[in-house]
């Protein structure tokens, strides 16, 4: 049987209908209004160079005594964790009674080219943690690291275990050389020194190009045809545009920090080999003896599950737990199911540990 049941009339009708939707959608586009970056109420409480520490306004009368500091990746912007009313991990944590802080790394420019991981971890993160400790008159804070921010959190906790009460890592790469880690494979043979020496800061667009190359046909073609189906619904279109804004809102990467992360973590797999040095000190995951909760996504194509789960065999903690989320790298914060599963799981785990 001929596998095309498409005749001219039907095809013309389909294309015309599609065209009509797009034409009508122009009006919806003009009515959508500004796309906000983050929805929960927050205040900037501390600044350090381009870095801003935000405190989210608690949503319960007596929030949990020990605040949670969210450490996001340098790649893309942290408002992914608070992207819309019904899709916000931050909102979920606040509703569960947590007191939440978040580090916004800002947009590095040429003057930040020589910022290294030492500056980020022993500088910015440490300063933010110390600010919270003083502000709340406590000795240790809870740290929640996401993706690359999770790797930073592991380094920070290893180097400053006395400042971290409980550590939560989300979709965090630990073993960078698992066979299914495509990103790591692509980076393996790149001349990172040449790249950084030539470009200085690494353009965000270059990283976007890399991420999109993983599913180029879906992410750059099909997605936009599918979008046309949303054009008659302002709310859905706005949600689509929020995600779109986030995807292409990619700060440049400070050159030296990128150099060290790409070489020591991606190429040398130093985090599990104990070869990573931040400043003058070596990162030893065995120093992480406080409770650890490791959240990973079973369908994560950027940080494969095995890359995250490796943490178990390297941390020194006797109180180590995992949460497997049935979804992808982004779905773990924004999917409808994650809203019901992830914030309560994290909050309850933290509450149980004081």
């Amino acid at each position: 049987m001929f596998p095309f049941a498409i005749n001219p009339e039907k095809a013309v009708e389909e294309l015309a209908r599609f065209n009509q939707k797009l034409a009508a959608g122009v009006k919806t586009f003009t009515e959508v209004g500004p796309i906000e970056s983050g929805i929960s109420a927050k205040e900037a409480v501390f600044r350090d160079d381009k870095v801003t520490l935000y405190h989210y306004i608690p949503r319960v009368d007596n929030p949990h005594r020990v605040p949670v500091l969210v450490v996001y990746a340098l790649v893309n912007r942290p408002y992914m964790t608070d992207i819309q009313e019904d899709r916000s991990m931050i909102r979920g944590l606040l509703d569960e009674g947590m007191d939440v802080y978040l580090i916004d790394w800002g947009y590095p420019d040429a003057s930040d080219r020589f910022l290294g991981l030492d500056d980020y971890i022993n500088g910015y993160i440490k300063h933010c943690v110390d600010f919270i400790r003083t502000r709340h008159d406590i000795y240790r804070v809870n740290v929640l690291g996401i993706c690359q921010g999770g790797a930073f959190s592991l380094c920070f906790t290893s180097l400053h275990p006395d400042r971290v009460r409980n550590l939560v890592t989300m979709v965090t790469p630990v073993d960078f050389h698992t066979p299914d880690n495509l990103l790591s494979m692509w980076v393996r043979d790149l001349d990172i020194d040449l790249l950084v020496d030539t470009l200085g800061n690494i353009p965000g667009d270059m990283l976007n190009l890399t991420f999109l190359s993983m599913n180029p046909y879906r992410l750059t073609g099909q997605k936009y045809l599918d979008m046309v189906d949303l054009l008659d619904d302002k709310v859905k279109l706005k949600n689509f545009l929020r995600m779109e804004k986030w995807i292409f809102d990619s700060p440049d990467q400070a050159g030296e920090a990128f150099r060290q992360f790409a070489k020591d973590f991606f190429q040398k797999n130093g985090l599990i080999k104990g070869n990573v040095k931040i400043g003058e000190r070596r990162v030893d995951l065995a120093n992480i003896t406080m409770p650890v909760l490791n959240v990973y996504a079973t369908k994560d194509h950027l940080v494969p599950p095995d890359a995250s789960k490796a943490l178990k065999q390297y941390v020194g903690s006797s109180d180590y737990q995992e949460v497997a989320f049935n979804g992808g790298h982004i779905g773990v914060y924004v999917s409808g199911r994650s809203q019901k599963e992830i914030p309560p799981a994290i909050a309850n785990w933290l509450k149980e540990r004081g």
Binding site: F2, I6, P8, N19, R65, Y217, L225, M227, L241, F248
Partner: protein
């Protein structure tokens, strides 16, 4: 449903579509474009008509709305292009009276034709579909040509740079950089000419740049070849899936179904390609080669800037490095100051308090407060018994309540032990 896909006039349907599109967009824009629909195909509407339509999406901004609409327009354009090619294909089959033949051989022919066109700017159905998704649209660049332009940027910059230099803007150079017919011998001779005189270093740098550019071009061609092979594999997959559908009596119902199937095939082929060792090596080689060209260009640009007393990249880097060093020193000093201020042992106190909280001291305090309150209630309660009986009951109640707090009291023991360990 028409059971004979080759028996109708597809091209007249295409003309009807053009008319409908023109009407739709005329309504939206309230403008009087004439004859747009009479052009070869509706894409002309996007390519030409939209250029002159003043609207927020055409503004040179990067808002999410503008970007998404741009993508949607691009997708629409390519979807229409795919439609046109589908119509052409079916029309061709119809005119050739191919219904008497096996459709499988026609499909095979179409696939083979499409495969042969890769790398030649294919305008075939599958070429059109290829441009709809994939590398062509990466980072909002729109089309395959744009992607190629992005990756070829170093080469273009080199051509421009050398074109502005009379010493190198000769025909050989132009042919060389344009990938023209220059023999290896000529090339080798040209690049090995020793530098002489005042401009010796500059000449050597330019020769090095040319050599690097040629290396990059070679690496880029290798990369393109791998991606073309991937696209061909996607076509084979599509071919196989269509044959399977035919054998199972299934069929695609819409143009969109065809497109989705095409995307699936390409993603499958792409996933296999980009996870291969070969791709990794070729991709890395291309990126590394591109960076060498750019670095060489930057160095030459620095020389030119220095010659006219303008700040160079090297100088800016030096200044930025100093800024970073100063920031670190300030930060270290601030840390020291902070530590000095905190010498009143408040950190230690916070640590102890933290430990105590962890050990449940707060709960202990709450129970104590509760106990006090109960005691107060008992003591202030009006008595009906004699004084001796009342006193006896009070003592019994106290004993019981104190007994209930035994667990927190035990839990407090480690606090004392921890304090002793710290020598406090």
């Amino acid at each position: 449903m028409n059971n004979n896909p080759f028996s109708t006039d597809w091209m007249s349907g295409w003309q009807n579509l053009q008319r409908k599109m023109w009407e739709d967009w005329s309504d939206v824009t309230q403008s009087n474009w004439t004859n747009t629909w009479q052009t070869e195909n509706p894409m002309n509407f996007f390519r030409e008509g939209m250029k002159n339509w003043p609207n927020p999406f055409m503004a040179p901004t990067q808002t999410p709305e503008a970007m998404a609409m741009k993508h949607a327009m691009g997708s629409m354009e390519e979807f229409m292009r795919m439609g046109r090619e589908v119509f052409k294909l079916f029309q061709g089959m119809s005119e050739a009276g191919n219904m008497t033949q096996e459709w499988t051989s026609q499909l095979d022919k179409a696939i083979q034709q499409a495969k042969s066109m890769f790398g030649q700017g294919s305008e075939s159905l599958f070429g059109a579909m290829n441009a709809m998704g994939g590398m062509g649209n990466l980072a909002g660049m729109g089309k395959m040509e744009d992607m190629t332009a992005f990756l070829s940027r170093p080469m273009k910059a080199w051509t421009d740079f050398l074109g502005s230099n009379p010493a190198f803007s000769n025909d050989t150079m132009r042919a060389l950089l344009a990938g023209g017919q220059v023999t290896e011998e000529t090339l080798s001779r040209f690049l090995s000419v020793p530098g002489v005189g005042f401009n010796r270093e500059k000449q050597e740098k330019i020769q090095e740049g040319m050599r690097l550019t040629l290396e990059y071009r070679k690496a880029f061609e290798e990369f393109q070849k791998v991606m073309n092979e991937s696209s061909k594999r996607a076509l084979d997959l599509l071919h196989r899936k269509l044959l399977e559908m035919g054998a199972e009596g299934k069929s695609l119902q819409t143009m969109r179904d065809l497109y989705v199937l095409w995307v699936d095939c390409n993603e499958e082929a792409n996933a296999a390609t980009v996870s291969s060792k070969e791709y990794n090596e070729i991709n890395s080689r291309m990126v590394n080669a591109m960076m060498r060209v750019r670095r060489n260009m930057a160095e030459m640009m620095d020389s030119s800037l220095a010659a006219v007393n303008m700040p160079t990249r090297r100088e800016l880097d030096s200044a930025h490095r100093q800024i970073s060093t100063l920031r670190r020193r300030v930060s270290e000093l601030e840390d020291v100051l902070h530590d000095l201020k905190g010498k009143d042992a408040s950190a230690e106190i916070r640590a102890m308090r933290d430990d105590m909280e962890k050990l449940g001291v707060r709960r202990l305090r709450e129970e104590l407060a509760e106990l006090k309150q109960q005691l107060e209630e008992v003591l202030t309660a009006p008595t009906v018994e004699s004084g001796a009986e009342s006193a006896e009951k009070t003592v019994i109640k106290k004993t019981v309540r104190i007994g209930n707090t035994s667990k927190p009291a035990q839990a407090a023991a480690p606090v004392a032990a921890a304090s002793a360990q710290k020598g406090e």
